[in-house]
Symmetry: C2
Amino acid sequence: MTFDTADLVPMADAIRALSMDAVQAANSGHPGMPMGMADAATVLWSEYLRHDPAAPGWADRDRFVLSAGHGSMLIYSLLHLSGYERPTMEDIRKFRQLGSPCAGHPENFLLDGVECTTGPLGQGLAMAVGMAIAERHLNAEFGDAFVDHRTWVVAGDGCLMEGINHEAIGLAGHLKLGRLNVLWDDNAITIDGPTALSTSEDIKARYAATGWHVVECDGHDFASIRAALDEAVADERPSLIDCRTVIGKGAPNKQGTAATHGAPLGDDEIAAARDQLGWEAQPFEIPQATLDNWRKAGARGRKAHDEWHGRLTGSDRRAEFERRMAGDLPAEFGLESYIRSLIDEPQKVATRKASEMALGEINAVLPDTIGGSADLTGSNNTKAGGIGALTADDYSGRYIYYGIREFGMAAAMNGMALHGGVIPYGGTFLVFTDYCRPAIRLSALQQTRVVYVMTHDSIGLGEDGPTHQPIEHVQSLRMIPNLLVMRPADAVETAECWEIALRQKDRPSVLALTRQNLPQVRTSSEELGLSARGAYRLKSADAERRVILIATGSEVHLALECAARLEQQGIGADVVSMVCTQLFDEQDDAYRADILPDVPPGEILRVSIEAGTTFGWDRYTMTNGLRIGIDRFGASAPAEDLFAKFGFTADAIVPQITDKLNG
Amino acid sequence: MTFDTADLVPMADAIRALSMDAVQAANSGHPGMPMGMADAATVLWSEYLRHDPAAPGWADRDRFVLSAGHGSMLIYSLLHLSGYERPTMEDIRKFRQLGSPCAGHPENFLLDGVECTTGPLGQGLAMAVGMAIAERHLNAEFGDAFVDHRTWVVAGDGCLMEGINHEAIGLAGHLKLGRLNVLWDDNAITIDGPTALSTSEDIKARYAATGWHVVECDGHDFASIRAALDEAVADERPSLIDCRTVIGKGAPNKQGTAATHGAPLGDDEIAAARDQLGWEAQPFEIPQATLDNWRKAGARGRKAHDEWHGRLTGSDRRAEFERRMAGDLPAEFGLESYIRSLIDEPQKVATRKASEMALGEINAVLPDTIGGSADLTGSNNTKAGGIGALTADDYSGRYIYYGIREFGMAAAMNGMALHGGVIPYGGTFLVFTDYCRPAIRLSALQQTRVVYVMTHDSIGLGEDGPTHQPIEHVQSLRMIPNLLVMRPADAVETAECWEIALRQKDRPSVLALTRQNLPQVRTSSEELGLSARGAYRLKSADAERRVILIATGSEVHLALECAARLEQQGIGADVVSMVCTQLFDEQDDAYRADILPDVPPGEILRVSIEAGTTFGWDRYTMTNGLRIGIDRFGASAPAEDLFAKFGFTADAIVPQITDKLNG
């Protein structure tokens, strides 16, 4: 289906009008980008994008990512005009107001058709890379009949200047993701002014150097846009479509300047724009003929959707495909028998190794997982269970060599999880959560099931020194809303944590894992699955309980040693393994009070032991408790020397406890 | 000075021998890179690098940055062989052991000649860009006679794959930093294996697209290396020198493979390497002739240093230059009269605006500052005091349009501060501290004076919504050791915080500033400089004190309102403005006990109010206190609506306090 220019002009101007008016009504927002990209977006959505507004969840729809998320009125306009149930015009009238799904930046959890949350620049493009990977992988597994769609991105100069775009396009070029097409809103304007203020780069040459196909068009000429999109679709490489545009196009006095970027145009300029565009409808009203054309364009995809549904219905793989896309685990999935085998034969291994062992079990029976590492495969122990590499030659592989691209990896995993049908996990050193923190935050905000396998989780990594030793990281990740941070103590807890992470349909998990070997502390088969409680009593006081030791990960066995020494002195001590503070906080009052009884200070001393910052541990030790941790940067030395230096020995800790009890 | 090949071979092999032996002795480390780059580094350090080992602090020395910091034995070898006082051979024998300055990764605070701490990949290169900016800026201010040096970088494939390298080289290309030369250790190997596993990029074409000069050499052919370095020195653009190398060169069975990257070679392979190289000296012994040549190479710079010193001594600008390089503020510098003017005429402004006002005062009298923003100049209010842009045409400017490169900006600022002679500050939105967090951490670890101007510091930014609203950020920054996080409440505190930040010679500061206007809460001229205490009593209880409200930034005026309501009910309430928790923690016991008296729970209720996570506030409220905060993601709406929704009103807070008092 193609439209005449006479139809397309008002269709595009409808986007311009809605964008101007909504930003003006909100008295904040970004009109320049939607107005500048209105023409290209109109061609894309009316003639190319494969979607069915009546069924936004259609698994084989094209994915559309507005990487330049500040231009949110572009996608709200497109969704409304194309015939999605939401946003309604009333929603758009309430752009940026409390309760409207038309938030300042597009939020995937507020509107169908918003494939991901964007705004933090560069990440939309990087998530689109993940979507395109998931598409090719599922295509390799289920064939063209089930999975055969494109990923479209609208990105601005800001997205292309961010470091993450380098990582993302490097990965996309390497994996030859030809079904990924990026429309670059090349308006040469950023917030501070012309892009020439801060960059002199030949972006097209850079993309070409990274294995991309590059094509240009006049972003305000429908034929030119079509020609470029056709060329992009035809090319086997990922494509950068350089849409030369005028920011704020249609605003006669402000277009082409930074003044249209991030502020309302003002009533006078809007009036002048309406004059210039010949747009006579009232604010938030769309002329019927234009709306009819938009709805016709929106209905375009229904036939393809019906045909696809027919193929699905006729296939014996339907149930498995639908399970995958729904994000459900197979009914028979579980690690109980593996965990029982650990209890039967305890293992002294690093938890990174324990993670590899668990993954060996998981990957063998759960086809959904796609693993990877940012060039630390042998250190993160992420390749397990016989999975092979996902490459440009074989998208059916389930392991991605992400290269030294932590942020790109994390964002790609978000994209995969948002696409659906796969469960991504990936590893780097825990200290480099800093490198991918913006994407971890978006995992949490977007409610994606991504599993971060973060090894080398303390000074216990030893000689690599302070640049590589997490201090503040575990606690600072625990602060991020809707993120589970788990620090297992041994092979049993590690397996339990993996199962917990996989069962979180709506939130990401970070597994903090050791480099160094740890004894197995869970050796009883009486009760399994204890980690799901977040914290549990690993050892009960023998003598009268006067101390509760609360430890995590590699410090749990140390807590057991301290407890044994205390008991020798007649001081009863519980040991609580606090695998995941967030899950513990979610337990009911009775459970929490059982583990950490609310007795007057002085009666029972609570002691936290974690080889990281003490910041925040007051929450569990209470003010009068004792917090064993490290509130400075680490050092370079063998792990045992560091644990001694920083006081992580029973010799150093027990006297502090007895002093406090006596004090 | 040039050396014959017959001299250079053993000079390079000395690096190989030390690297093999030190890694073997430590039983951990990375021999592959030092062995692969030994030849190129030998040419660079013996014939090109302008330095004086006897005077590592010489202001006009070339800066050498080992961006691929895991290859730390390369720089330890070079420093020792060239004649630096440290590391001694004994230090090298204790590579990676507790107390040795030869840490796993190079640490600028442990050894002279280590210009920056590297290891987190890509950041060394990005810091070098900052050093090169500082060099050109000081050259523009003080002339060739004082400042005329180069910045050399050794970077690996990992550095070039990281996103930050895109930001860094974009900035360097744009600013035409021709005195920046990057030697790329092009060995086509990463930890996981061949680079072809994860990248297909034409790196040279990408650098060329970004305004760089690119030249190749055989990294094991001295003549080829010289020709490339000569060409790089001659070119006006920043140069990428593609050194084609064999990783682990010299280890006959392992060279060219990932096996040499990050593990000891083993005794057998070391013996085989010694055979192949004809290296007969004992471990940690250097043949005298070779050592003599290295020391001769090291002494090469003394004459230039002496001449430079002569020019310095003869100049009337010596004192100012030395003040700048020492990092001292002018004796007369201070903001007291400005602060008094604020107290005389209170201002209701956003603290970002207050920061601009303070900067207007500072920049006008302190020539050391170089400001900038990651494309949010008008939002961060960072351009003030009449400073002009620092551009390729005019390096004397003091404002950098960093573009949409938060991480690159932060790393460049680290480089500037490490170079010395300038005090960098730069802005973005507080939420995007996540984008530059790895560099903020390195600011703290490296003890650099960098000022982060982070605006839009809470839900108070309003409509941009959860992607832009910090929740966990302020607290998560407070966890980073050696970093001051300041959240001023009004124009007076903002000015005080600026002065505090500028006076920290050995640590970075984050200023968390509001988008929204705030009333001035400091209106008394009785005592100035209160923010330096970290926290202080802004208002004392009138009625008997039963409550201490501890608030920061935009919540301080809210705390005052709550206190007024409590007093109306006969409940005495102090209000403490906690500008900087770290500075408060550094006060003596008596001061802290005066502000937050250690009375039994129940006698005085402590309440924290901060529009961010409550995580960690237990430290100041104690367990039985009340913590007003936001433990979920924000939302898109006008600020007032959000403050109401999230309970940041006196109406919402006061009843919680009275309930708690009565409960």
